[in-house]
């Protein structure tokens, strides 16, 4: 496992959302993440795509430590993030940071930018002057220094997201989770943020776990892509391969649904596949392969058995009975 920075092994996160029955109270569980394994290499951008409700954000929150996993393990540089007894190790917290989707609600409206960006510094104890470090961080994300004394509501959406990025970088992490960092922003601002993130990645040798539902954006930022459906990964491949040669019917369906702006892109979309149905509720996951009710190539085995991951080509794995 050389070069793997973060390894997630058979991660499960189940939520109990209620109970059914009066005498024998049986819990109703939502299997938000149900056996997800992947590895993020040093310095790469690992993309995680999927529709809403597929469990991508739950993966992110579990990795960053907001949720405790139901089962499975997360290892950072080969060491488990959890001690014996399930307590999360505190010394690795600095290394893993997160940028949330909506900068409007992830920044405290009653604190100045200086307080917001400086908070992780005070928390983890920084060497040197706090003011100088905050100034450096703002420079890093291309914001003017005097923003230090502003409040979040005085900033535009893109600028707020830059502050959130500065805060994430404050502890000098090596791994940053980007949970839909631009989906609340307009395209012209999105372009700016993405290019900033790519520049920071090169400068500080950061590894990203990039979560988005925008496949076109994913094509341009990720080095490898995994696609999730109802808490499970369906397909993982190198980005170029993933878009040129998608195997899983779900990947093909999503790709064919993307609205594009040019003829060349139209060429890339899988033909003859039209999207149908909707993502079912994660409380009642369909039997067998959870995608089978929406699949255009569904066979007999699909509704009975859950397929396993198969490596179809080196580095390209698919979880579908067609390739078993």
């Amino acid at each position: 496992m050389n070069g793997d920075l973060l390894t997630v092994t058979d991660l499960k996160k189940h939520f109990i959302v209620g109970h059914r029955g009066i005498v024998a109270r049986e819990p109703i569980t939502v299997k938000a993440v149900d056996g997800v394994s992947f590895a993020v290499r040093e310095g790469e951008t690992f993309g995680l795509v999927g529709e809403s409700g597929s469990g991508k954000s739950t993966v992110a929150y579990t990795v960053v430590g907001m949720y405790r996993p139901t089962a499975g393990d997360i290892a950072f540089r080969g060491e488990s993030l959890y001690e014996k007894g399930g307590k999360r190790r505190s010394d690795l917290r600095k290394e893993i940071q997160i940028v949330f989707q909506d900068p409007g609600s992830s920044l405290n409206p009653r604190r100045t930018i200086k307080d917001i960006v400086g908070f992780p510094l005070r928390l983890y104890g920084s060497d040197g002057n706090l003011q100088t470090r905050v100034r450096e961080l703002l420079q890093m994300v291309e914001l003017p220094e005097d923003y230090m004394y502003k409040y979040p509501q005085m900033l535009g959406g893109g600028e707020k997201q830059m502050v959130a990025i500065a805060r994430a970088l404050a502890t000098d992490p090596s791994f940053v989770i980007l949970d839909e960092p631009t989906s609340a922003l307009d395209v012209s601002i999105q372009a700016k943020i993405i290019n900033l993130l790519l520049r920071l990645q090169r400068e500080f040798n950061l590894s990203y776990l990039f979560i988005t539902h925008d496949l076109s954006l994913m094509r341009n930022v990720a080095s490898r892509v995994a696609i999730m459906y109802l808490g499970k990964i369906c397909e993982v491949a190198e980005a170029a391969e993933f878009f040129r040669n998608p195997y899983h019917p779900y990947t093909q369906m999503l790709l064919s649904s993307i609205p594009v702006v040019s003829e060349e892109e139209e060429e890339l979309k899988p033909k003859r596949i039209t999207s149908r149905g909707e993502i079912p509720s994660p409380v009642n996951v369909p039997s067998g392969c959870s995608f089978h009710p929406r699949c255009s190539q569904c066979g007999d085995t699909c509704s009975a058995d859950d397929p396993v991951m198969v490596e179809v080509e080196p580095g390209h794995v698919v979880r579908c009975h067609k390739f078993a």
């Binding site: 395209v187 700016k192 496949l215 954006l217 790709l255 999207s275 909707e278």
Partner: protein, 335 residues
């Protein structure tokens, strides 16, 4: 040709009176929809897309909003001059709006049936005073039209019992149920997943073709208009900056804003993303003089700061509001 126009907005000005000044939001908007045409309206957040369309339906909150100039003709009659009685009739017979968020567009305490039947009742059918049974039949037919299963049962359901995609289909059913002439769809797929958005767009395209309804599709996603629209308007800070047939706009954008916007869209073919457009949308309290785009434009000239560019015809249906293309240098500057 003139008679062909279903909706004709001329030089519309809308301001909002707020504490501390007047927000000059719409600054001379010209916009037309021909009958049976699918028109796209793209622009970034806060550029006035929704304000324009709300002005058409006359549902802008007044105050703070105030129309300070311009006319809106629907089938040759000025909507802004109508009495509320006439307006009610025009809305019922003529127009329907589909909102971005189907969850808030439907009333949570009434059944789908009640809401859909009301939409039928106050539509073109109102004059005929249809009996209840027929209204119900039409409602069922509308639900079938939008490919929803088991419509009879669905009429008894409440909105919370439906998924997001189904709710949006119900909203579309409400819009098509009354044989309306114009459907205004405000970001109909934005709050939904791509696979569902694709279904909704295909549905809208199919229905409008079949019923020969005109549609205005408001969106900030360029790809979406390319899928659906015949003709696209690009809006920036309360002005229309460019209008062209869809194919032409995407193959040959002219206005610097359109060009920048196109470049900023991530492409499926890869190759990175251009750096976007510097700066942000202007403050409507003190909008820039002249062309409102000039502070962010990389090709701005001295005259851009003084004078407001008007639409210049570039042949076909292609019009652009930019001094780069005004007479004299027209031939030279067209890329």
């Amino acid at each position: 040709m003139e008679n062909d126009l279903l909706l004709d907005i001329r030089d519309l000005h809308v301001v909002f009176d707020v504490f501390g000044g007047t927000l000059k939001v719409l600054d001379g908007v010209d916009f037309t929809v021909r009958s049976g045409e699918k028109v796209g309206l793209v622009g970034e957040t806060g550029c006035g897309k929704t304000t324009t369309m709300k002005a058409v339906l006359r549902v802008l909150p007044m105050p703070p909003a105030r129309v300070t100039g311009g006319e809106i003709y629907f089938k040759g009659r000025d909507i802004l001059q109508m009495t509320s009685r006439e307006l009610g009739r025009v809305r019922g017979e003529g127009m329907a709006m589909i909102f971005q968020d189907p969850t808030t567009a439907l009333n949570p305490v009434f059944t789908i049936g009640t809401q859909l039947e009301a939409a039928v009742k106050y539509s073109a059918a109102r004059e005929k005073r249809l009996p209840r049974k027929q209204i119900r039949e039409r409602a069922v037919a509308a639900l079938k039209e939008v490919a929803l299963p088991d419509p009879e049962r669905l009429l008894k359901n409440y909105p919370f019992q439906l998924s997001g995609g189904m709710r949006q289909r119900v909203c579309i059913a409400m819009a098509v149920a009354g044989d309306r002439k114009l459907i205004i769809a405000d970001e109909p797929g934005t709050s939904l997943d791509v696979s569902i958005q694709d279904q909704i767009l295909r549905l809208l395209r199919g229905l409008t073709d079949k019923l020969n309804t005109s549609i205005v599709l408001i969106t900030h996603t360029l790809g979406v208009v390319r899928e659906l629209a015949d003709r696209v308007y690009v809006m920036y800070a309360g002005n229309m900056v460019e209008v062209a047939p869809t194919r032409e706009l995407f193959s040959q954008p002219l206005h610097p804003y359109t060009v920048g916007l196109m470049a900023a869209v991530p492409k499926l073919t890869g190759g990175g993303i251009a750096d976007g457009i510097p700066g942000r949308i202007p403050d409507y309290l003190n909008p820039p003089t002249g062309c409102r785009f000039h502070p962010r434009c990389d090709r701005s000239m001295p005259m851009c700061t003084q004078e407001k560019p008007r639409f210049v015809n570039m042949g076909g249906d292609h019009q652009v509001a930019c001094f780069l293309y005004t007479q004299g240098e027209e031939g030279a500057s067209r890329p």
